[in-house]
Amino acid sequence: MPETHELVLTISHPNGLHLRPAALFVRTAAHFHSAITVRNLSRIESHSVDAKSMFGLMQLGVAEGHQIELHSIGVDATAALLALQQLVASDFEEQP
């Protein structure tokens, strides 16, 4: 039975979901089997995109302070959202 989960996160990274944070986000999402979509709640015209797509994330134009809504369906839906939540909470901490 696949699980469905939703989560709203606030991006506090000063560069928003720009190139490097977006790349980390996509890589993290790609670890999971679940289908994950993202929507930018802070832009009225925003639609849902695939969280595993760099192009998708770039289109969302997520800037500092924006809220994003994550939606995941699949066997590891909870784990996927937790991992992404942790990444955002750590402000996309990059390992040297």
């Binding site: 000063p14 190139l19 790349a23 760099m54 192009f55 770039m58 289109q59 134009g61 800037a63 040297p96």
Partner: protein
């Protein structure tokens, strides 16, 4: 008559050479694929090849310590292999039966248009990255390797370059780069700076009229491209280039690297290290010096303190590795949260306000003297400077200076070689030192220890994670106090640097340079990012950031 084109400086330097045009061959004229090959399978192979090339170059850059530049290529690799791109290409190549090259072109064009329409200037710039990925995919598909046949005096002229092309050009040893598009913060400029290729970007469409094979001068620091220069101009720029190279060699020889903001205001990035072996890492990240060598490794986690000879060997190793660049050694900073097993522990209600740093040295002067002896001897190996931690009154410095003199006398009497005049400085980490810096007469330099200074100014224990989040080291109170420190230091002509986590955060580093602290010391791995951030800003901008940091 010389033709002059004006653009933006992408990376500094002067190149004299011959123009070479670098453009993708006309795609339409190339043969179509054999029909029996499954088009999406073929595309997959092309994607994998581009990803492999990008990751290969990223790895090389990372090995050289150019982490941020490597990240640009990593992100490109993700784009090249993106699910959304694959889908867009599939729709065109399979559903609409478009030739694969055209499908890639159309798909990346469409995505670029989409990104360009967003009201975010950063994303509009990233649209260029998508185009670059499209170009890279097409190049692999067509088997074109446009950068194969270049001479070392080539001034490469192009509409725009992909990150992969830019990094590949370095291997060909070209003289300089000129692009019609791009900005001084674009990826071509960032990579050219990291790779040391003189570059002028944003020269406009006029550049595309410049023929190949004509003599040219790229005065990259001034953002100029001179086509068919006169003999007098060639002589002039050749002399200027020779002078620049001489300055570079000189600066490298004496320490600081040639680093400056976008408009030429110099800064220096040094490294904080806690072990002699890390000096090599610092050099790899092109640190201009060691701004903080912590010496607690000589005492902590051992059964007995390191002997004088062992200490001497450790300091000498760092000084020799740094080859003439400045090395600031902080004397033992024990106490606070650092304790030693083999010494009587001091019972304190408030260790951070207790016997730590120089106060600890006063308590155990025999251990301090061993360190001083080793330091004065090692002073002969390079540009050594001694820095005292946790100083709060001028008497602290007077005491240490008397100890140094006593040790120097001992060494002289016993006929041991040592350096008599080692510069002596203080850490500015207590509010008292920051407020009354002018009272510390006779010191040669000071360095702000922003971690401890923040803890003492905000009265918030920095080992308590909850407090650290609420009482941050970038509080306006800290920047205001630093403004006082730099004003006093400027009046006394006292060199001031900063070693602390504040320096490793790009926006704070910019504000610190704006306050007049142009020597920043940080963990080696943070240097490339900070260098990139500071090279991209101008003097008015850093001043504005400094003013903002002092307010809410």
């Amino acid at each position: 008559m010389t033709r002059v084109l004006h653009g933006q400086s992408g990376a500094p330097g002067i190149a004299l050479g011959t123009t070479v045009r670098l453009e993708l061959t006309d795609l339409a004229s190339r043969a179509a694929l054999p029909v029996e090959v499954d088009v999406m399978e073929h595309f997959k192979r092309v994607q994998m090849e581009v990803v492999a090339q990008l990751q290969g170059v990223a790895r090389e850059l990372r090995d050289e310590g150019k982490r941020d530049e490597a990240a640009i290529l990593d992100a490109q690799a993700l784009l090249a292999n993106d699910v959304a791109l694959t889908e867009e290409v599939r729709r065109r190549a399979v559903d609409q039966q478009m030739p694969l090259a055209d499908a890639i072109h159309a798909a990346t064009e469409a995505m670029t248009v989409l990104l360009s329409s967003l009201d975010d200037p950063y994303l509009r710039e990233r649209a260029v990255d998508v185009l670059a990925v499209g170009k890279e995919l097409q190049q692999v598909l067509m088997g074109t390797t446009p950068v194969d046949t270049l001479l070392s005096n080539a001034i490469v002229i192009s509409h725009d370059l992909t990150p992969l092309e830019t990094t590949t050009l370095r291997k060909r040893g070209i003289a300089g780069l000129a692009t019609a598009g791009g900005t001084s913060n674009g990826h071509v400029a960032i990579l050219a700076r990291a790779l040391g290729i003189p570059a002028v970007v944003g020269l406009g469409e006029d550049l595309m009229d410049v023929p190949a094979g004509v003599p040219a001068i790229l005065a990259a620091s001034s953002g100029l491209l001179l086509i068919e220069p006169t003999a007098a101009e060639v002589t002039l720029y050749a002399a200027e280039r020779a002078a620049m190279e001489a300055t570079n060699h000189h600066r490298l020889a004496v320490g600081g690297l040639l680093d400056s903001t976008h408009d030429g205001s110099p800064f220096e990035l040094w490294a904080n290290i806690g072990d002699p072996s890390e000096a090599r890492t610092a050099l790899r990240y092109s640190a201009g010096g060691i701004g903080l060598l912590r010496t607690e490794f000589l005492l902590l986690d051992r059964m007995v303190p390191a002997s004088e000879d062992e200490q001497y060997a450790a300091y000498a190793e760092v000084l020799q590795t740094m080859a003439g660049r400045p090395v600031i050694v902080r004397t033992l900073d024990i106490g606070g949260d650092k304790r030693l097993a083999y010494l009587p522990s001091i019972n304190e209600a408030n260790p951070f306000l207790g016997t730590r740093g120089i106060r600890w040295a006063m308590r155990f002067p025999h251990i301090f003297r061993v360190q001083l002896r080793a330091l004065l001897r090692a002073g002969l190996c390079g540009d050594l400077r001694i820095m005292l931690p946790m100083v709060s009154t001028p008497a602290d410095v007077l005491w240490a200076r008397a100890e140094i003199e006593a040790v120097a006398n001992e060494l002289a009497l016993s006929g041991v070689d040592y350096r008599p005049e080692v510069p002596l400085g203080i850490m500015v980490e207590t509010p008292a030192a920051a407020i009354s810096l002018d009272r510390f007469r006779g010191i040669d330099f000071c360095s702000v220890g922003s971690n401890d200074l923040a803890q003492y100014v905000l009265a918030a224990d920095r080992t308590d994670a909850t407090l650290v989040q609420r009482y941050r080291s970038d509080d306006p109170a800290i920047f205001r106090l630093l403004r006082m420190v730099t004003a006093t230091a400027a009046r006394l002509a006292l060199p001031v640097s900063l070693c602390g986590e504040l320096a490793a955060e790009p926006q704070h580093a910019i504000a610190l340079v704006g306050l007049g602290i142009s020597t920043l010391s940080m963990l080696p791995a943070a240097i490339p990012q900070i260098r990139e951030a500071l090279q991209a800003v101008s003097l008015p901008k850093v001043k504005q950031c400094a003013a903002q940091a002092c307010e809410d």
